[in-house]
Amino acid sequence: MAGECSDRLRVPPMSERATRRTIILVPYLWLALFFLVPFAIVAKMSLSQVATAIPPYVPTFGLADGPTGWLAKAREFSLDNYGVIVGDRLYVDAFLASLRIAAIGTAILLVIGYPIAHAMARAPERWRPILVMAVILPFWTSFLIRVYAWIGILKPEGLLNELLLGLGLIGAPLAIANTETAVLIGVVYSYLPFMVLPLYAALERMDRTLLEAAQDLGCPPWKAFWRITVPLSLPGIVAGSFLCFIPITGEVVIPDLLGGSDTLMIGKTLWTEFFSNRDWPVASAVAVLLLVILVGPIMVYQRQQARQMEAGR
C-alpha cells in the first residue's frame, strides 16, 4: 500500500513510466490478440454459410472490402446456423445434458472433496505440504491417461466387474462403460484436485479458536460445523465449484472415451461438427451459444479470484 501512495504523490520519472507501460502492455496485447480478438472472429464465422471449399465457409466481410463492401456483405449475414441449432433436438439435448452432467458432477465433487480438504486442513502441520503434494501429483500426470485408465476398469470384462463378480456381489457384469454414469465417474476423478485445493486453501486459513469458543459455549460439533466452518469456507466452495463446473460443461475427452455414442455433450458435438462434418459456421455458432451460457459463471469465478488475490495482500 505504501508503494501506491508514493506512486501518486511523486511524479514518476521517465524510466519508471516506461517500465509500467511494458509490464501492463505486453500481457495485455498478447491476451487481446490471442484470446479476445479470436472470439470476434468466431462470432463473425457463426454468421457465415458453410461451403465445400478450403477453408470450408463463405467469407463474410474482410477489412479490405471498405465500408460499402461491409454494408453489402452485412446484408448476407444470416442467423441460419443459430436456427439450425435451436430447431434441432440433438443440439438442445446436448446443451441440456452438458449442463446436467456439469451440475451433478460438481455436486458430487463437493460432497467428496469437502471431507478430504477438511481432513487435510486438520492434519498435523508438518503433514500438510505432503498431503497437498499428493493431491496435486495426479493432476500433473496426463489427463488423457487418467481417463484412459478408467476404460480398463469400467468395461464389461474390466477390473471392477471382475472384482464384483469374484466377490459374488453381482451375478452379471454391470454395464457402466459407455453410460452417463461412466462420464460422471471420469469427471469426478479428473476434477477432484480442482475442487480439493481451493477448499483446502479456505479451510486452512480458518481461525480454529472460533470452533473452540463455540464448543465452550455448548455448541455441538455438527452445529459448529454448519454454522462456522461451512460459512467461512464459502469462498473456497464458490471457487472450487466454478473451477469445476465451467470446464466440465465444455468437456470433450471424457464423454468421448467413457460415454460412448449414447452420451451427447456439447463440447463433443462442437468437436464432431468441426472435425468430422467440417461445418465451421455451425461449430462457431455452437461455441458462441456455449460462451453465452458460460459468461455469467466465468465472471463470477473471475471476480472471486480477483477478490481472493486482493485479500491475500
Partner: protein, 263 residues
C-alpha cells in the same frame, strides 16, 4: 480438542480419497508390465511393451515434438504470466484493468473447445500456416493465466521496501527487477514454468485445433490409438510419462525448498 471419532472420520476421508486418486494410476502402471496382450488378465511380468514403443517411430517423433512445444510455450507463458501478475499486484488502477484481469483468469476455466476453435479461426484469417508455432502460441495463451496465479500468490507477500531501498540507492528499474524482484519470486516463477510445461504436454484439444500436417503431438497420437481400444503399449508410454512428471515435480519441490531455506 479433536475427538477420536472425528479423527477416525478424517483418516477415513483421506484414505478413501487417496485410494480413489491413485488406484487407477497404480493399476495402469502394473498392467504396463503385463506379458499378455489382454489388458485385464495378468500373463506374467514382461518389459516387451517398452521395447515396442521404443521402436515406434511415429510415437517417438510425436514425443519429441511435444517436448519442444512444451518447452517453448512454457517459456512464453512464464514471461507473459509473470508480467501479468506484476501488473495486477503492482498497479491498483489503470485503464481497462477489469478487462485485463478477466483476460488473465478466463483462459483457466474457458472450455478448450472454444479457445481452440477461436485460435484456429484467428490463424486461418491471418493466413498463418499451422504447425509448431501455432500450437506453441495456443498453449502459451492457455497456460499464462496459471503462471500468473502462481506468481501472484508469491508477489502479494513480497516486501516492497527492498525494491524501494535499491531504487533509492540508484538502481535502475531493470536492475531492481533482475537483482531484487526476480530472485525473490524465482521459486514461484519456476513452479509456474513447470505447471505450464506439464499442461502443454498434456493438452489434446488445443493442439488438435491449431496443429498442421507434420506437427502431431503425443496426446493426439495416444488419443487416436485409445479410440481404437486399450493396448498395453499405451499403458507403457503412460507409465513413462507418469515417471517423467513425478521426477520433475519432486526435483522442483526439492529445488524450491532449498532456495527457500537459503533465504
Amino acid at each position: 480438542m479433536t475427538s477420536p471419532r472425528s479423527r477416525l472420520l478424517d483418516a477415513t476421508a483421506l484414505t478413501l480419497g487417496f485410494a480413489f486418486l491413485y488406484l487407477p494410476i497404480v493399476i495402469l502402471v502394473i498392467f504396463s508390465f503385463n506379458a499378455s496382450q489382454l489388458v485385464t488378465v495378468w500373463g506374467g511380468f514382461s518389459t516387451r511393451w517398452y521395447a515396442s514403443i521404443w521402436q515406434n517411430r511415429q510415437l517417438m517423433d510425436a514425443a519429441w515434438m511435444t517436448a519442444q512445444v512444451a518447452a517453448a510455450s512454457a517459456a512464453f507463458a512464464t514471461v507473459v504470466g509473470t508480467l501479468a501478475a506484476l501488473a495486477l499486484t503492482r498497479y491498483a488502477r489503470f485503464r481497462g484493468r477489469t478487462l485485463f484481469s478477466g483476460l488473465v483468469y478466463a483462459p483457466i476455466v474457458m472450455p478448450e473447445v472454444i479457445t481452440g476453435l477461436s485460435l484456429l479461426l484467428l490463424f486461418v484469417s491471418l493466413g498463418i500456416d499451422r504447425g509448431f508455432w501455432t500450437v506453441t502460441v495456443a498453449h502459451a495463451t492457455f497456460t499464462c493465466g496459471f503462471v500468473a496465479v502462481v506468481v501472484q500468490s508469491r508477489l502479494v507477500t513480497f516486501d516492497r521496501s527492498l525494491e524501494e531501498a535499491a531504487a533509492d540507492l540508484g538502481a535502475t528499474p531493470a536492475q531492481v527487477f533482475f537483482r531484487i524482484t526476480l530472485p525473490i519470486i524465482a521459486p514461484a516463477v519456476v513452479a509456474g514454468f513447470l505447471l505450464a510445461f506439464t499442461l502443454s504436454l498434456d493438452d489434446l484439444v488445443l493442439a488438435s485445433f491449431t496443429t498442421g500436417p507434420g506437427s502431431t503431438t503425443l496426446p493426439m497420437r495416444i488419443y487416436s490409438q485409445v479410440r481404437l481400444g486399450v493396448t498395453p503399449e499405451i499403458n507403457a508410454i503412460s507409465t513413462l510419462m507418469i515417471a517423467a512428471v513425478t521426477v520433475l515435480v519432486i526435483a522442483a519441490s526439492l529445488a524450491t525448498k532449498r532456495s527457500a531455506s537459503a533465504h
